[in-house]
Amino acid sequence: MDDINPIPFTFRIIAVVALMVLLVPVLIVVLAGLNSGEYLTFPPEGFSLRWIENFFTSPTFLPAFKLSFGLALATTIISTILGTLASIFLTRSTSKAREILRGLFFLPVVLPGVVLGLALYVFFIWSDVGLARSLAGLIIGHVLVTMPFVIATVTASLVDFDLSVEEAARSLGATPFQAFWKVTLPLITPGISAGSIFAFIVSFGQFELTLFLSTPDLQTLPLAIYSSLRYAFEPTAAAAGIFAICLVTVSTLISTRLSNLKKLLSRR
């Protein structure tokens, strides 16, 4: 590609600017988390792993991290399944309702998390089936705000999907399910995995919605960080962030490895 269609120079420059906007604040926080001083200060006073250690021994941060991780995982699974199925409908149905549905599925993102959180909380109390302040209620809220991301990404990748490939499989005698599973699904996997990564990250960092839906004795990481920052800019919060970054790096590496492997296998 570099010979035939090199990436324009202007593009490279702007991409560097974009990366700086994304990464400089992160870098500052990472350095502050590796700081040996008492406060979350910058420039750091010296290098130390004490805040990382503190994170692992903290009675608040580590359980909060685990809860957020589990919550994000459950949310991702549910919203990826619901969202992918809905996306297939949205891109393939000829029904007039399709446009309305597309809009409908996007709506939860438009409402501020605080409003959605309190509306759900009031609804859970009215309905009185034990969803208020429960883990299930929290997952429901998170699925609501992550599903639009899954649908947007998966739909975008399905719109360009060439249906004739699946039709070819059908004409060769595959059942609709087989054709989808063996032909379409592998081809739209990048879209689905992008959507689920989206869902995971949105759920993991969700703050405003969780404010009202959180369960009494369990605290998610963003809430734990926010409440600790109310008192002091404690470096442990930054250390929790460093750990989260390492985790996402490793999981992305593994998942790209896996999907590359799959691609290799499926091409043969």
Binding site: E38, Y39, L40, T41, S58, P59, T60, L118, Y121, V122, F123, I125, W126, S127, D128, A132, R133, T210, L211, F212, S214, P216, D217, Q219, L223, A224, S227, S228, L229, R230, Y231, A232, F233, E234
Partner: protein, 366 residues
């Protein structure tokens, strides 16, 4: 809206039902209003769950360490701690008969607001009758009638000592040298509410002379507005703010950490930032009994001294001993030191809160 209506009618039924039984059956049949008696001893709660609410983060960790861990062992109960402020909407969403927490730690404005929205909290006289340690408290700690204040701090300005100005009065915040380097908080923060009322008092005819307060806020612009104290502490530390409204607990903590700051106490208007516990009137009997027991422990001198040591907050128990680092800075727990401390007229503030919030936002946003 079918659900809303259903919820409403069910709730209304509950309410009238509770009222009716309260009158006719002397509270006998209703779990919510059953009388509970506690004498200060340890009892076996048989694994019961106690829902409480309080500040999170380091605060929560300290509570666990100083009282909650041991309390759960001693009473064989499970404490569920909710730190997701704000709590007020949770109370009103659930209604008085179905309180989300049996016990709650508040700053006063939100507590009064909740109390104003319904019959949520137990009267202080009933709490006093069941919590023996209340007999050792300074009088002002039971003044609200709905909650027991167990810790407090005084209001002050925290100022940087390296800019060459030392404030000598409340009004020195408005010195032209501090322009753009003054710090206060958003209207939902109790510190701003108190600062506003202090300004009303100092520049006007009294703490409810809101017009004078608005003018004072206007004159203090441009200011840096922060949403919580931790954020303000960093602004002061980085020198973006040279003088800020602060509670002395936070300011002393910052001073101890070596930031070049000092405190000016508001002697003209001795408002206090309080930590007050309420017990929910319609909590179930076991939760009520456990709440009495837990509150009794929080009012004990040992706990209050320990808390002062970590958070620099002052005790309300007459017999609590202050840590040396606080007495060294002139803090005392004596009748003199608590003389003239002032709890503002929060009810008057809350009546006009909507106007205050809107007008102050307009001033801050201009």
């Amino acid at each position: 809206m079918t659900d809303a209506k259903k919820g409403l009618s069910r709730r209304t039924l509950l309410k009238t039902g509770a009222a009716a039984t309260g009158v006719s059956l002397f509270n006998i049949n209703h779990v919510w209003s059953q009388d509970v008696i506690y004498d200060g001893g340890v009892f076996d709660a048989d694994g019961a769950v106690l829902n409480i609410a309080g500040w999170g983060g380091y605060w929560e960790e300290t509570q666990n360490k100083l009282v909650l861990d041991q309390f759960q062992k001693d009473f064989n109960c499970q404490v569920r701690y909710d730190s997701t402020f704000p709590w007020f909407p949770k109370y009103v969403a659930a209604g008085p008969e179905n309180p989300p927490f049996a016990m709650n730690n508040w700053n006063m404005p939100e507590m009064f607001k909740t109390a104003g929205a319904g019959d949520y909290f137990m009267d202080v006289s009933e709490v006093r009758a069941n919590v023996p340690n209340t007999s050792e408290l300074w009088d002002f700690s039971m003044q609200t009638g709905i909650g027991i204040t167990w810790a407090f701090s005084r209001y002050c300005y925290v100022f940087r000592t390296d800019v060459g100005i030392t404030p000598k009065s409340f009004k020195d915040f408005w010195l032209p040298d501090y322009s753009g380097k003054r710090g206060t908080y958003i209207t939902s923060n109790t510190l701003q509410m108190m600062f506003f009322m202090a300004a009303c008092d100092q520049f006007g005819s009294g703490e409810t002379d809101f017009e004078a307060g608005y003018k004072a806020m206007k004159d203090a612009m441009p200011m840096k507005i922060s949403d919580f104290t931790g954020n303000m502490a960093t602004l002061v530390e980085r020198g973006e703010v040279n003088i800020a409204v602060q509670s002395d607990a936070e300011a002393l903590l910052q001073k101890e950490k070596g930031v070049p700051v000092d405190l000016y106490y508001w002697d003209e208007y001795k408002g206090i930032l309080t930590q007050t516990q309420t017990i929910s009137k319609y909590a179930d009997p076991m939760s009520k009994k456990l709440s009495f027991a837990l509150l009794n422990r929080m009012l004990a001198p040992e706990f209050q001294s320990g808390f002062a040591d970590t958070f620099w907050m002052r005790p309300t128990n007459k017999n609590a001993v202050l840590p040396e680092k606080m007495t060294a800075l002139g803090v005392a727990n004596t009748a003199d030191a608590t003389e003239g401390l002032h709890i503002p007229n929060w009810s008057a503030y809350l009546v006009d809160e909507i106007d205050i919030v809107e007008t102050t936002n307009e001033i801050f946003g201009s």
